[in-house]
Protein backbone atom coordinates (compact mmCIF):
# COMPACT_ATOMS: atom_id res chain seq x y z
CA UNK A 1 0.00 0.00 0.00
CA UNK A 2 2.76 2.38 0.97
CA UNK A 3 4.56 1.71 -2.30
CA UNK A 4 1.41 2.45 -4.25
CA UNK A 5 0.92 5.70 -2.37
CA UNK A 6 4.50 6.67 -3.10
CA UNK A 7 4.10 5.88 -6.76
CA UNK A 8 0.89 7.88 -6.84
CA UNK A 9 2.73 10.77 -5.23
CA UNK A 10 5.51 10.64 -7.75
CA UNK A 11 3.02 10.52 -10.60
CA UNK A 12 1.47 13.72 -9.36
CA UNK A 13 4.78 15.53 -8.98
CA UNK A 14 5.76 14.65 -12.56
CA UNK A 15 4.09 16.08 -15.60
CA UNK A 16 1.39 13.65 -16.72
CA UNK A 17 2.33 11.46 -19.67
CA UNK A 18 -0.08 13.30 -21.94
CA UNK A 19 1.62 16.62 -21.17
CA UNK A 20 4.99 15.33 -22.36
CA UNK A 21 5.03 15.50 -26.11
CA UNK A 22 8.30 13.79 -26.85
CA UNK A 23 8.79 10.07 -26.56
CA UNK A 24 11.91 8.13 -27.39
CA UNK A 25 12.23 4.43 -28.15
CA UNK A 26 14.60 2.71 -25.71
CA UNK A 27 15.76 -0.78 -26.59
CA UNK A 28 16.84 -2.66 -23.49
CA UNK A 29 18.71 -5.94 -23.40
CA UNK A 30 16.68 -8.22 -21.14
CA UNK A 31 17.85 -11.41 -19.55
CA UNK A 32 15.56 -13.13 -17.08
CA UNK A 33 17.24 -16.46 -16.36
CA UNK A 34 13.92 -18.06 -15.36
CA UNK A 35 12.36 -17.44 -18.79
CA UNK A 36 15.07 -16.41 -21.30
CA UNK A 37 17.59 -18.88 -22.64
CA UNK A 38 19.65 -15.96 -23.97
CA UNK A 39 19.50 -12.16 -23.71
CA UNK A 40 16.77 -10.56 -25.86
CA UNK A 41 16.04 -6.95 -26.80
CA UNK A 42 12.81 -5.30 -25.70
CA UNK A 43 11.70 -1.85 -26.85
CA UNK A 44 9.89 0.66 -24.67
CA UNK A 45 8.44 4.02 -25.75
CA UNK A 46 9.49 6.42 -23.03
CA UNK A 47 8.14 9.96 -22.67
CA UNK A 48 10.95 12.29 -21.73
CA UNK A 49 11.95 15.85 -21.01
CA UNK A 50 15.28 17.41 -21.95
CA UNK A 51 16.70 17.13 -18.45
CA UNK A 52 16.20 13.36 -18.20
CA UNK A 53 19.19 11.06 -18.01
CA UNK A 54 19.25 7.57 -19.49
CA UNK A 55 19.01 6.29 -15.91
CA UNK A 56 15.80 8.27 -15.43
CA UNK A 57 14.52 6.71 -18.63
CA UNK A 58 15.12 3.26 -17.13
CA UNK A 59 13.46 4.33 -13.89
CA UNK A 60 10.44 5.44 -15.91
CA UNK A 61 10.29 1.99 -17.50
CA UNK A 62 10.54 0.29 -14.12
CA UNK A 63 7.94 2.54 -12.47
CA UNK A 64 5.37 2.69 -15.25
CA UNK A 65 5.98 0.12 -17.97
CA UNK A 66 7.65 -3.01 -16.62
CA UNK A 67 8.47 -3.37 -12.95
CA UNK A 68 10.58 -6.46 -13.57
CA UNK A 69 13.43 -4.53 -15.27
CA UNK A 70 16.62 -4.86 -13.20
CA UNK A 71 19.54 -2.43 -13.15
CA UNK A 72 22.00 -1.08 -10.59
CA UNK A 73 22.02 2.54 -9.56
CA UNK A 74 22.48 4.65 -6.48
CA UNK A 75 23.73 8.23 -6.45
CA UNK A 76 22.42 9.63 -9.78
CA UNK A 77 25.44 11.97 -9.94
CA UNK A 78 28.41 10.03 -11.28
CA UNK A 79 30.13 9.31 -8.01
CA UNK A 80 28.95 5.84 -6.93
CA UNK A 81 29.94 4.00 -10.10
CA UNK A 82 26.90 1.68 -10.01
CA UNK A 83 25.01 2.49 -13.21
CA UNK A 84 27.58 1.64 -15.88
CA UNK A 85 26.01 0.16 -19.02
CA UNK A 86 26.45 0.10 -22.76
CA UNK A 87 24.54 2.98 -24.37
CA UNK A 88 24.50 2.51 -28.14
CA UNK A 89 27.53 0.28 -27.75
CA UNK A 90 29.59 2.76 -25.72
CA UNK A 91 30.40 2.09 -22.06
CA UNK A 92 28.65 4.92 -20.19
CA UNK A 93 27.33 5.91 -16.79
CA UNK A 94 23.60 6.05 -17.45
CA UNK A 95 23.20 8.92 -14.96
CA UNK A 96 25.70 11.03 -16.89
CA UNK A 97 24.20 10.30 -20.33
CA UNK A 98 21.11 12.16 -21.53
CA UNK A 99 18.12 10.97 -23.53
CA UNK A 100 17.95 14.24 -25.49
CA UNK A 101 21.26 13.39 -27.18
CA UNK A 102 19.63 10.33 -28.79
CA UNK A 103 16.39 12.00 -29.86
CA UNK A 104 14.68 11.40 -32.24
CA UNK A 105 16.58 8.23 -33.15
CA UNK A 106 16.35 6.27 -29.94
CA UNK A 107 18.96 4.27 -28.11
CA UNK A 108 19.94 0.77 -27.15
CA UNK A 109 20.96 -0.06 -23.60
CA UNK A 110 22.85 -3.26 -22.83
CA UNK A 111 24.67 -4.71 -19.86
CA UNK A 112 28.35 -3.76 -19.61
CA UNK A 113 30.36 -5.66 -22.21
CA UNK A 114 32.89 -8.36 -21.24
CA UNK A 115 31.10 -9.32 -18.00
CA UNK A 116 28.66 -12.19 -17.48
CA UNK A 117 25.05 -11.00 -17.14
CA UNK A 118 23.30 -11.84 -13.90
CA UNK A 119 19.94 -10.35 -14.86
CA UNK A 120 18.94 -7.68 -17.41
CA UNK A 121 21.47 -4.87 -16.99
CA UNK A 122 23.03 -6.30 -13.84
CA UNK A 123 26.44 -7.87 -14.44
CA UNK A 124 28.46 -10.30 -12.36
CA UNK A 125 31.38 -8.25 -11.02
CA UNK A 126 33.13 -10.95 -8.99
CA UNK A 127 36.20 -10.93 -11.23
CA UNK A 128 36.70 -7.19 -10.78
CA UNK A 129 36.20 -7.34 -7.01
CA UNK A 130 38.66 -10.23 -6.65
CA UNK A 131 41.26 -8.35 -8.66
CA UNK A 132 40.64 -5.23 -6.61
CA UNK A 133 41.22 -7.15 -3.39
CA UNK A 134 44.33 -8.82 -4.77
CA UNK A 135 46.21 -5.53 -5.29
CA UNK A 136 45.75 -4.43 -1.66
CA UNK A 137 44.05 -1.12 -2.47
CA UNK A 138 45.04 0.62 0.75
CA UNK A 139 48.14 2.25 2.16
CA UNK A 140 50.64 -0.28 3.50
CA UNK A 141 52.95 1.65 5.84
CA UNK A 142 56.70 1.36 5.23
CA UNK A 143 57.27 0.80 8.92
CA UNK A 144 54.73 0.19 11.68
CA UNK A 145 53.73 3.48 13.21
CA UNK A 146 52.33 4.17 16.67
CA UNK A 147 49.30 6.39 17.09
CA UNK A 148 51.37 8.70 19.26
CA UNK A 149 53.62 9.49 16.30
CA UNK A 150 50.77 11.44 14.76
CA UNK A 151 49.45 11.65 11.25
CA UNK A 152 51.33 11.03 8.01
CA UNK A 153 52.36 14.26 6.38
CA UNK A 154 52.30 14.70 2.63
CA UNK A 155 53.14 17.75 0.54
CA UNK A 156 50.85 18.90 -2.29
CA UNK A 157 53.61 17.87 -4.73
CA UNK A 158 53.65 14.36 -3.31
CA UNK A 159 49.87 14.19 -3.60
CA UNK A 160 49.86 15.43 -7.21
CA UNK A 161 51.83 12.34 -8.27
CA UNK A 162 48.89 10.00 -7.67
CA UNK A 163 45.86 12.24 -7.37
CA UNK A 164 44.22 11.65 -10.75
CA UNK A 165 44.45 7.88 -10.30
CA UNK A 166 42.63 8.17 -6.98
CA UNK A 167 39.49 9.45 -8.73
CA UNK A 168 38.53 5.94 -9.84
CA UNK A 169 34.98 5.02 -8.74
CA UNK A 170 35.19 1.32 -9.73
CA UNK A 171 32.48 1.70 -12.37
CA UNK A 172 34.18 -0.82 -14.68
CA UNK A 173 33.51 1.18 -17.86
CA UNK A 174 37.20 0.78 -18.74
CA UNK A 175 36.84 -3.02 -18.54
CA UNK A 176 33.88 -2.90 -20.92
CA UNK A 177 36.02 -0.72 -23.20
CA UNK A 178 39.15 -2.88 -23.12
CA UNK A 179 39.33 -5.28 -26.08
CA UNK A 180 42.13 -7.21 -24.38
CA UNK A 181 40.07 -7.83 -21.24
CA UNK A 182 37.29 -8.96 -23.58
CA UNK A 183 39.61 -11.52 -25.17
CA UNK A 184 41.25 -12.65 -21.94
CA UNK A 185 39.59 -11.82 -18.66
CA UNK A 186 42.63 -13.00 -16.71
CA UNK A 187 44.32 -9.73 -17.72
CA UNK A 188 44.54 -7.48 -14.65
CA UNK A 189 42.90 -4.71 -16.69
CA UNK A 190 42.92 -0.90 -16.79
CA UNK A 191 41.01 0.23 -13.68
CA UNK A 192 42.85 -2.07 -11.29
CA UNK A 193 46.17 -0.94 -12.78
CA UNK A 194 45.20 2.70 -12.18
CA UNK A 195 44.41 1.93 -8.54
CA UNK A 196 47.51 -0.18 -8.08
CA UNK A 197 49.56 2.71 -9.44
CA UNK A 198 47.71 5.16 -7.20
CA UNK A 199 48.89 3.31 -4.08
CA UNK A 200 52.38 2.58 -5.40
CA UNK A 201 52.90 6.28 -6.08
CA UNK A 202 51.73 7.39 -2.65
CA UNK A 203 54.61 8.73 -0.54
CA UNK A 204 53.05 7.16 2.57
CA UNK A 205 52.93 3.69 1.03
CA UNK A 206 55.51 0.93 1.17
CA UNK A 207 53.59 -1.87 -0.54
CA UNK A 208 54.93 -1.56 -4.10
CA UNK A 209 56.90 -4.81 -4.00
CA UNK A 210 53.84 -6.79 -2.93
CA UNK A 211 51.77 -5.34 -5.76
CA UNK A 212 54.29 -5.62 -8.58
CA UNK A 213 54.29 -9.42 -8.74
CA UNK A 214 50.94 -9.27 -10.54
CA UNK A 215 52.13 -6.47 -12.83
CA UNK A 216 55.15 -8.51 -13.97
CA UNK A 217 53.16 -11.72 -14.38
CA UNK A 218 51.59 -13.48 -17.36
CA UNK A 219 48.28 -11.82 -16.40
CA UNK A 220 49.95 -8.44 -15.95
CA UNK A 221 50.49 -5.24 -17.93
CA UNK A 222 51.89 -6.79 -21.10
CA UNK A 223 48.45 -8.04 -22.12
CA UNK A 224 47.69 -4.40 -22.96
CA UNK A 225 48.12 -3.41 -26.61
CA UNK A 226 47.85 0.35 -25.96
CA UNK A 227 44.39 0.83 -27.47
CA UNK A 228 43.63 3.67 -25.04
CA UNK A 229 39.82 3.38 -25.16
CA UNK A 230 39.84 2.81 -21.38
CA UNK A 231 40.98 6.37 -20.75
CA UNK A 232 38.51 7.72 -23.30
CA UNK A 233 35.42 6.24 -21.61
CA UNK A 234 36.48 7.00 -18.02
CA UNK A 235 33.80 9.27 -16.52
CA UNK A 236 36.20 10.58 -13.87
CA UNK A 237 39.07 11.58 -16.18
CA UNK A 238 41.39 8.98 -14.76
CA UNK A 239 43.96 7.89 -17.33
CA UNK A 240 44.29 4.13 -16.77
CA UNK A 241 46.13 3.68 -20.07
CA UNK A 242 48.85 5.92 -18.69
CA UNK A 243 49.09 3.86 -15.49
CA UNK A 244 49.46 0.72 -17.62
CA UNK A 245 52.12 2.31 -19.84
CA UNK A 246 54.18 3.59 -16.93
CA UNK A 247 54.09 0.13 -15.41
CA UNK A 248 55.11 -1.56 -18.66
CA UNK A 249 58.29 0.51 -18.48
CA UNK A 250 58.69 -0.24 -14.77
CA UNK A 251 58.16 -3.94 -15.37
CA UNK A 252 60.62 -4.03 -18.30
CA UNK A 253 63.22 -2.25 -16.16
CA UNK A 254 62.68 -4.71 -13.35
CA UNK A 255 62.90 -7.66 -15.75
CA UNK A 256 66.48 -6.81 -16.64
CA UNK A 257 67.68 -4.92 -13.58
CA UNK A 258 66.50 -7.50 -11.03
CA UNK A 259 69.75 -9.38 -11.61
CA UNK A 260 71.76 -6.26 -10.84
CA UNK A 261 69.73 -5.07 -7.88
CA UNK A 262 67.40 -7.89 -6.78
CA UNK A 263 64.17 -6.73 -5.20
CA UNK A 264 60.52 -7.63 -5.16
CA UNK A 265 58.68 -10.86 -4.80
CA UNK A 266 58.38 -11.74 -8.48
CA UNK A 267 59.75 -15.10 -9.49
Amino acid sequence: MELQARRQNRKESRPAMSEIEKTIPIEVLRYRPEQDTEPVLQTFQVPFTDDMSVLQGLQYIKDYLDGSLSFRWSCRMAICGSCGMMVNGKPSLSCKTFLRDYYPGGLRIEALAHFPIERDLVIVMDDFIEKLESIKPYIIPKTPRALSEGEYLQTPEERDVYEQFSSCINCMLCYAACPQYGLNSKFVGPGIMALLHRYNMDSRDGGTEQRMELVHSEDGVFNCTAVGYCSEVCPKHVDPANAVNINKTESAKDYFLRFVAPKGAAK
Binding site: K186, L214, S217, D219, S251, F256, K267
Partner: protein, 122 residues
Amino acid sequence: MSANLKRSNAPIFWLLFGAGGMLSALLGPMLVFITGIAIPLGLILSPDAMSYTHMQAFAHHWIGAGFIWVIVSLFLWHAGHRIFHSLHDVGIHAGTAAKLICYGIPLVATIVAARALITSVV
Protein backbone atom coordinates in the same frame (compact mmCIF):
# COMPACT_ATOMS: atom_id res chain seq x y z
CA MET B 1 40.34 -15.36 -10.18
CA SER B 2 43.49 -17.32 -9.66
CA ALA B 3 46.15 -15.12 -11.19
CA ASN B 4 48.98 -16.77 -13.02
CA LEU B 5 51.85 -15.07 -11.22
CA LYS B 6 54.56 -16.62 -13.37
CA ARG B 7 56.79 -13.78 -14.52
CA SER B 8 56.08 -12.83 -18.11
CA ASN B 9 58.98 -12.78 -20.58
CA ALA B 10 57.13 -10.13 -22.58
CA PRO B 11 59.60 -7.33 -21.69
CA ILE B 12 62.21 -8.79 -24.08
CA PHE B 13 59.83 -8.72 -27.03
CA TRP B 14 58.13 -5.53 -25.93
CA LEU B 15 61.46 -3.66 -25.79
CA LEU B 16 62.51 -4.97 -29.24
CA PHE B 17 59.06 -4.03 -30.53
CA GLY B 18 59.32 -0.59 -28.95
CA ALA B 19 62.81 0.05 -30.31
CA GLY B 20 61.74 -1.09 -33.78
CA GLY B 21 58.60 1.02 -33.61
CA MET B 22 60.54 4.10 -32.64
CA LEU B 23 63.09 3.58 -35.43
CA SER B 24 60.49 2.81 -38.08
CA ALA B 25 58.49 5.89 -37.12
CA LEU B 26 61.58 8.11 -37.25
CA LEU B 27 63.42 6.59 -40.20
CA GLY B 28 60.83 4.55 -42.13
CA PRO B 29 59.21 7.37 -44.11
CA MET B 30 62.63 8.88 -44.85
CA LEU B 31 63.97 5.55 -46.13
CA VAL B 32 60.88 5.06 -48.30
CA PHE B 33 61.38 8.54 -49.71
CA ILE B 34 65.10 8.06 -50.42
CA THR B 35 65.04 4.51 -51.75
CA GLY B 36 61.62 4.53 -53.38
CA ILE B 37 61.12 8.05 -54.67
CA ALA B 38 64.13 10.38 -54.53
CA ILE B 39 66.79 8.05 -55.99
CA PRO B 40 64.72 6.48 -58.82
CA LEU B 41 63.39 9.91 -59.89
CA GLY B 42 66.71 11.67 -59.40
CA LEU B 43 65.20 14.15 -56.92
CA ILE B 44 67.65 15.94 -54.59
CA LEU B 45 70.00 12.93 -54.61
CA SER B 46 71.82 11.71 -57.67
CA PRO B 47 70.65 8.35 -59.04
CA ASP B 48 74.20 7.22 -58.49
CA ALA B 49 73.92 7.61 -54.71
CA MET B 50 72.63 4.07 -54.31
CA SER B 51 74.72 2.43 -56.98
CA TYR B 52 76.16 -1.00 -56.25
CA THR B 53 79.64 0.32 -55.50
CA HIS B 54 78.31 3.01 -53.17
CA MET B 55 76.07 0.63 -51.28
CA GLN B 56 78.82 -1.97 -51.07
CA ALA B 57 81.17 0.61 -49.58
CA PHE B 58 78.39 1.61 -47.15
CA ALA B 59 77.89 -1.99 -46.05
CA HIS B 60 81.62 -2.55 -45.73
CA HIS B 61 82.07 0.23 -43.21
CA TRP B 62 81.19 -0.76 -39.66
CA ILE B 63 78.87 2.24 -39.17
CA GLY B 64 76.97 1.46 -42.37
CA ALA B 65 76.85 -2.24 -41.53
CA GLY B 66 75.60 -1.46 -38.03
CA PHE B 67 72.90 0.80 -39.47
CA ILE B 68 71.69 -1.87 -41.90
CA TRP B 69 71.71 -4.51 -39.17
CA VAL B 70 69.71 -2.39 -36.73
CA ILE B 71 67.18 -1.37 -39.41
CA VAL B 72 66.65 -4.89 -40.74
CA SER B 73 66.46 -6.66 -37.38
CA LEU B 74 64.48 -4.13 -35.29
CA PHE B 75 61.96 -3.44 -38.07
CA LEU B 76 61.34 -7.19 -38.24
CA TRP B 77 61.03 -7.58 -34.44
CA HIS B 78 58.52 -4.75 -34.51
CA ALA B 79 56.54 -6.29 -37.36
CA GLY B 80 56.59 -9.79 -35.83
CA HIS B 81 55.28 -8.59 -32.48
CA ARG B 82 52.58 -6.51 -34.12
CA ILE B 83 51.44 -9.38 -36.34
CA PHE B 84 51.40 -11.76 -33.37
CA HIS B 85 49.19 -9.43 -31.33
CA SER B 86 46.98 -8.56 -34.30
CA LEU B 87 46.31 -12.28 -34.86
CA HIS B 88 45.12 -12.47 -31.25
CA ASP B 89 42.99 -9.35 -31.75
CA VAL B 90 41.17 -10.79 -34.76
CA GLY B 91 40.49 -14.02 -32.90
CA ILE B 92 43.30 -16.27 -34.11
CA HIS B 93 44.87 -17.55 -30.92
CA ALA B 94 47.45 -19.67 -32.65
CA GLY B 95 49.62 -19.94 -29.56
CA THR B 96 53.07 -21.47 -29.77
CA ALA B 97 53.05 -21.95 -33.56
CA ALA B 98 52.26 -18.28 -34.19
CA LYS B 99 54.85 -17.28 -31.61
CA LEU B 100 57.52 -19.40 -33.28
CA ILE B 101 56.80 -17.92 -36.71
CA CYS B 102 56.33 -14.28 -35.60
CA TYR B 103 59.42 -14.19 -33.42
CA GLY B 104 61.43 -16.88 -35.20
CA ILE B 105 61.66 -14.95 -38.48
CA PRO B 106 63.09 -11.81 -36.83
CA LEU B 107 65.47 -13.94 -34.79
CA VAL B 108 66.78 -15.82 -37.85
CA ALA B 109 66.97 -12.58 -39.87
CA THR B 110 68.89 -10.89 -37.06
CA ILE B 111 71.47 -13.67 -36.99
CA VAL B 112 71.75 -13.98 -40.78
CA ALA B 113 72.08 -10.20 -41.22
CA ALA B 114 74.69 -10.01 -38.47
CA ARG B 115 76.71 -12.81 -40.04
CA ALA B 116 76.52 -11.33 -43.54
CA LEU B 117 77.44 -7.84 -42.37
CA ILE B 118 80.28 -9.01 -40.15
CA THR B 119 81.81 -10.93 -43.06
CA SER B 120 81.43 -7.85 -45.26
CA VAL B 121 83.20 -5.58 -42.78
CA VAL B 122 85.98 -7.94 -41.80
